[in-house]
Each structure stands twice: as structure tokens, then as C-alpha cells.
């Protein structure tokens, strides 16, 4: 459905997209995961033919994307990172305005606008102007304006920034529903939990490059970390930390402010082995927990830095 090949975009000396390659299939919820400034939004703007780029091609629905490819644009809906609605129009008028840029028939448009209002849960607010809405409702209006015309491809650029948890869940469930109804979704975010929750395939972006692509399971299987064990309120000497690091399957130990973090490769009884060592050494400790690898671990191992940086 979408092929991006060797996309290069420079802002002066800064290389924003560095030979980015992506292939997105119809029916996916495809996540672009990367920290702020990694090139996600630039990639989206290049895909939408808003930004000039230095090199590469973008093909959508088999056609090269260009500013005057109105046939392709007709089938795309976008939800931008910044809320893009008219403060001067009511909720209903905003959705009707943007839907009207895609759908000429008045009757059909009215039906679509009503459905979008219902989808976003904005029935009670149709006559209100955006300035009167809460942050969450405003984001929902922003989404309704982008999806009212029932596009085949929906591009969402960080649609949940600064949204309360309740609205965030509603938005994420809504995206899954849109996907069930047949839309392909491209979803950019720097929140790994969101991407893990809804995306069927994920591309990890760093410095304008796609450093890994796959399902979340595939991405996690690419890395060494099989388990991260955390032990709180524990007092250790340098020798004891070194001893923990020497245990089987352990490949990284971090000890800071009486919290011990041990990363292990996949293997059985990792937790038991660490606890046994602490017991043998008669070291008291507080809470202990074990976590399976997250996308943050994937990002950390591939790029050497935390996703949340």
C-alpha cells in the first residue's frame, strides 16, 4: 500500500531523514516509534507531499505521491500532532468543513459528520466552540475532523499528546475500531505503551533511519534481553555487584540508590538464582520484580539510549 524508498531530507546541515525505507501493507496499524526529533513527523510530512525532500520516492496506493495527486489525497485522512481546527467554528461546523473538502454531496456528508461525532463521543458538544473544550475533547475533535470522510488510509501523528488517560484509552480503542472497519493506520508516537497496545507492526526510528521493523514480538526477539530483574532497597558492596554480574545469563548490572537492575538473556530460573545469591550472602532487600523486555529495551539495545530520553 505504501512504499518509501531511500528517503533523504536535510534541513541545512541536519540530516532529518537518512535513507528511510518503509513498506506498509493494507489493513495494518503501523507504528512509527522513536524519540522526539527522530524524524517521525518529517517522514509523515514527506509522505503527504507537504515537504520537499532531497532524494527518494514515496508511493501510496501504487502511485507516486505529489501535491497534485488529488486521487490519492481523496483516500487519506490525517490527524496532526498539533490540533488543527477553527476556533471560530463550532464542533459540528469544524467536522462538516473538513468533511466537505472530501465529500461534495450534502446528504452523504451529513451522515458522515453525524457518524464521526458519534465515533468521537462528541454528541453533547456539537454546538460548542473548540476553546470551551477540554484537552481530551479537543483531541477527539481533531481526530473526528481527520476521519469523518472514512478514508482508506489514516495517518495519525502523535494524536494523544497531552491527553488524560481516559481520553487516551478512548482514542486508542477508536483507532482499533477504525482499523476493524477497514482503514489502514499509520501511527507515530514516542509512547511505547501505546504502540505496543495497538500496532500490528512497528518501525523503530532513530536519527531519520528505520533501525528495526517487525511485530512487537519480532522486535523483542531481535534483542539479547530476555528479562530485567529489579531488586529494591538493597545494600551491596562492589564485590557483591560483580558477583551478581558473574551469574549465568546475566549480561548487565546496574546499581544506583540501593536499586539493583539486572538484565539477563533468555533462560530459566534467572530470578531464583539472584534471590539465592542474596540469601546466601544474607543481604536483606525490599520489593523484587521481573519484567519481560519492552520496546524501550529494544530501542536501548539497538541505539544505545533510552526511548524516553
Amino acid at each position: 500500500m505504501i512504499q518509501i524508498e531511500n528517503l533523504v531530507k536535510r534541513y541545512g546541515e541536519l540530516l532529518a531523514l537518512d535513507h528511510l525505507n518503509l513498506e506498509i501493507e493494507e489493513g495494518e496499524i503501523f507504528g512509527l516509534l522513536g524519540p522526539n526529533g527522530s524524524g517521525k513527523t518529517t517522514a509523515i510530512n514527506c509522505m503527504l507531499a507537504l515537504l520537499k525532500y532531497d532524494k527518494g520516492t514515496v508511493r501510496i496506493f501504487g502511485e507516486e505521491m505529489s501535491p497534485d495527486n488529488y486521487k490519492v489525497k481523496q483516500q487519506i485522512g490525517i490527524v496532526l500532532q498539533n490540533v488543527a481546527v477553527f476556533d471560530e467554528l463550532t464542533v459540528y461546523e469544524n467536522i462538516d468543513y473538513f468533511c466537505g473538502l472530501y465529500v461534495k454531496d450534502k446528504k452523504e456528508r451529513k451522515k458522515l459528520v453525524d457518524e464521526a461525532i458519534h465515533f468521537a463521543g462528541l454528541e453533547e458538544y456539537t454546538k460548542m466552540r473548540p476553546k470551551k473544550l477540554s484537552g481530551g475533547l479537543l483531541r477527539r475533535l481533531n481526530i473526528a475532523c481527520g476521519i469523518a470522510h472514512k478514508p482508506r488510509l489514516i495517518i495519525m501523528d502523535e494524536p494523544t499528546v497531552a491527553v488524560d488517560p481516559q481520553s487516551r484509552n478512548r482514542i486508542l480503542e477508536g483507532i482499533k475500531e477504525l482499523n476493524r472497519q477497514g482503514s489502514t493506520v499509520i501511527y507515530t508516537s514516542h509512547y511505547m505503551e501505546e504502540v505496543e497496545q495497538i500496532c500490528t507492526r512497528i518501525a523503530v526510528i532513530d536519527h531519520g533511519r528505520s533501525v528495526a521493523v517487525g511485530t512487537k514480538e519480532e522486535l523483542k526477539s531481535m534483542i539479547k534481553t530476555g528479562e530485567t530483574i529489579t531488586v529494591e532497597s538493597v545494600a551491596l558492596s562492589d564485590g557483591q555487584i560483580a558477583a551478581v554480574g558473574a551469574l549465568p545469563h546475566v549480561f548487565d548490572v546496574k546499581y544506583k540508590e540501593q536499586v539493583l537492575k539486572v538484565r539477563c538473556t533468555r533462560g530459566k530460573h534467572n530470578l531464583m538464582r539472584i534471590l539465592s545469591y542474596l540469601q546466601e550472602e544474607e543481604i536483606s532487600f525490599g520489593r523484587v520484580f521481573s519484567e519481560l523486555p519492552t520496546l524501550n529495551d529494544v530501542f536501548l539495545e539497538i541505539t544505545g539510549k533510552e526511548l524516553r530520553d
Binding site: 501535491p67 498539533n82 488543527a84 467554528l89 472530501y102
Partner: protein
């Protein structure tokens, strides 16, 4: 297209900056001008108190006194006379009770204590009387048969004389302030143009970016935005003209179609200037508004908005500025229509304004028609 225009009008009607600066601010300023100039006019025509000292009992003196009483009784109430002895008159002049002393003797004279409008009025009256007297004496010597007819006509001269322009229309001194105000209102269309650029340039706002990725042709978006901005700003100016004419009672003597034509072209200049300047680069919003405000105010100042003689001063020392300053051209075109019938000057101003508006409209169009941007 109708869908776009309907919502573009709605958005503009609810936008404070769009409604305040191009429409409400000129109306408020016009009202303030009206009250300020109204008081000035009243001050100009305040009755002038004057002392009259009778020195002899000659017939010449009697005629002059009759002339003064006639002026005093006139509905304009230009002067108020009081016959006094010389000492009392001098004392009244020194204390400011009177503005001057007429000495009515064989030789008429006027004594004043300063220089100002009141003193000028007294001097003008004396000169008028002496001119009339000389004329009558000449007629008596050369055409004695017409003396009675001449006297009758001259006694009515105040009603016959009216200050008029070359074209026979009003020369209200305050009018030029209002013409400069109309010019300023036209240029304030730049605030409307500023909003237009924000809604069309994807590198300026997310809203414009969202519009640019829809299947609606960019030309349609531009046309709808520009047409509604031009039209609405033209309506702003028409409202201002109606307000000036029917609420403030300004005396427009020229023909309305020509005034509307100037207003329309002036509106186009204001709006397209706003689009053009707002589309340049990614300068901060405040800086762009500052530039627009600065240009509009400087142009209006040079057109005589704050100092009535400014346009004449510019014409004397650097006339080229008056040829390229849109506010001066708009004010001048209005002056041509309402004050002096000078078709050549009017059409010259209109031609320059038209060229300016076409250039600015094309420039602003090319600025907003870009489809891909270097950065967003």
C-alpha cells in the same frame, strides 16, 4: 466552492482581529475625530467681543458703526460690540474682556493685544468694510447712477460669499482627516490578509497543513480565501462610508460609484499586502503584525491622518512618496472626487492604485500557491 466560501465568511465574522482592526477600529477613530473636530469648529466660531471707541460724530463713523451692528445681528454671531470710552476700552483689552478696539473716527483703526483667530476676524472685518467703502466711492465718482444698486448688493455680500473649491464643492478643513482615515481603513485590510495567509500556508499553521493535504484543489482554497477577504473588507469600507455620511453627517459631494471604486481597489491593496507580508518566511506572529501595523500607520501618517498638512509637506519636499504611498493615493482620490474636480489627477491616482493592487494580489497569490515547503 460555496461550501468553502460559506465557512470562510463564518470564520472571518467570528475572528476578533479580523473584525476589530479593519472594521471597528476605523469606526471608533472616526467617532473620536468627529467629536474632536466638532469642538474645534465650535471654538473657531466663538463670538469675538470687541470694544468700539467713537472719536468723532462723522457720517463715515456712523456708516462703520452700522456695518458693525449688521454683522453683530447676523445669525453667525461673529462679533459682539460694546461702545466704551478709550480708557475703559484699553483696560478691557488688557484684562482680556475684549479681543480688540475699533477706533471709529475720520480714520478707522483697530488695536489688538495679540495674534490669533479672533484678532484675524476683527482685522478681516475692518478690511472688508474699507474695501467696500472704496468700491462705493469709486462707483460714486465714475458711475453715480448705479450707486443705489451697488449699495443694496453690497449690503447682502455676506450671503453671497461662500468658500468653495475649484470644483464648486465643499472645502471642509476636517475632511482630509477623514479621507486619510478611510485610506487607513483600506490598508487595515492587511489584518484580514494576515489571517488568509495563516489558513493557506502549510508552513505557518497546522490548520493550513490539514487543508493542503485534502483533495480540494489549492487554487480553489486560495480563491475562496482571497475572494471572501476582499469582499468582506470592501463591505467594511462601505460600512465606514455609510457611518461617516449618515451617522457623523460628513458631506460627501462626489459621485458614489467612483468612491466605491477607490474603496474596492484600496481594500484589495490592504488585503493582498497582508497576505504578501504574512507569507514571507517564518517570522514570529507578533513581528509580522508589528510590520503590518507599522506600514499601515506610517502610510496613513504621511497621508495626513495625524497632521493635516503632512500630505502637502510631503508633496513639497518629496512628491514621489505621495505617488507610491497607497494611503496618500486613496486619500487623494477621495479628495479629487469630493473637493476639486480634477479628473486627470483622480485617474492618475486610480491608475497607480490599480497597478499596485494587481502587483500585490499577484505577489500574494504566488506566495500562497506553493505546494511543497522546505520546512514545516
Amino acid at each position: 466552492m460555496l461550501h468553502l466560501m460559506k465557512y470562510d465568511v463564518k470564520v472571518k465574522l467570528h475572528n476578533f482581529n479580523r473584525m476589530f482592526w479593519p472594521l471597528l477600529f476605523p469606526l471608533i477613530l472616526a467617532t473620536l475625530f468627529y467629536f474632536a473636530f466638532g469642538k474645534m469648529d465650535e471654538a473657531d466660531f466663538e463670538t469675538v467681543p470687541v470694544a468700539v471707541v467713537e472719536e468723532t460724530n462723522s457720517s463715515g463713523e456712523k456708516t462703520f458703526l452700522d456695518f458693525l451692528y449688521t454683522v453683530e445681528k447676523d445669525k453667525s454671531k461673529l462679533i459682539k460690540t460694546e461702545v466704551m470710552g478709550e480708557k475703559q476700552a484699553v483696560k478691557a483689552l488688557k484684562s482680556g474682556k475684549v479681543s480688540g478696539i475699533y477706533y471709529a473716527g475720520e480714520k478707522l483703526s483697530l488695536t489688538v493685544s495679540g495674534v490669533g483667530i479672533k484678532e484675524s476676524i476683527l482685522q478681516s472685518l475692518l478690511e472688508s468694510y474699507e474695501n467696500g467703502k472704496n468700491t462705493i466711492e469709486n462707483i460714486a465718482v465714475n458711475h453715480p447712477e448705479g450707486i443705489q444698486s451697488a449699495s443694496e448688493q453690497m449690503s447682502d455680500y455676506r450671503d453671497m460669499v461662500k468658500q468653495v473649491s475649484l470644483g464648486g464643492k465643499t472645502t471642509d478643513q476636517t475632511a482630509q482627516f477623514f479621507y486619510a482615515l478611510i485610506a487607513m481603513a483600506c490598508l487595515y485590510g492587511c489584518f484580514s490578509g494576515y489571517g488568509t495567509a495563516l489558513y493557506l500556508q502549510a508552513n505557518l499553521t497546522a490548520l493550513a497543513a490539514r487543508k493542503c493535504v485534502t483533495p480540494t484543489h489549492k487554487l480553489k482554497l486560495i480563491l475562496s480565501e482571497m475572494l471572501t477577504s476582499f469582499f468582506m473588507h470592501f463591505v467594511d469600507i462601505v460600512i465606514l462610508l455609510i457611518y461617516l455620511r449618515y451617522v457623523l453627517g460628513m458631506d460627501f459631494r462626489g459621485d458614489i460609484p467612483r468612491m466605491l471604486l477607490v474603496s474596492f481597489i484600496g481594500s484589495m491593496i490592504g488585503v493582498s499586502m497582508g497576505i504578501f507580508i504574512s507569507s514571507i518566511g517564518k517570522t514570529r506572529e507578533g513581528a509580522k503584525i508589528g510590520i503590518l501595523l507599522g506600514i499601515s500607520m506610517v502610510c496613513s501618517f504621511l497621508a495626513g491622518l495625524m497632521v493635516s498638512d503632512m500630505k502637502d509637506i510631503v508633496e513639497r519636499y518629496c512628491p514621489i512618496i505621495n505617488r507610491i504611498n497607497p494611503a496618500a493615493l486613496i486619500a487623494d482620490a477621495f479628495y479629487c472626487i469630493n473637493v476639486y474636480d480634477d479628473p486627470a489627477r483622480f485617474w492618475r491616482s486610480l491608475a497607480i492604485l490599480t497597478v499596485m493592487s494587481v502587483l500585490l494580489t499577484l505577489g500574494s497569490f504566488f506566495m500562497v500557491r506553493r505546494e511543497r515547503y522546505d520546512s514545516i
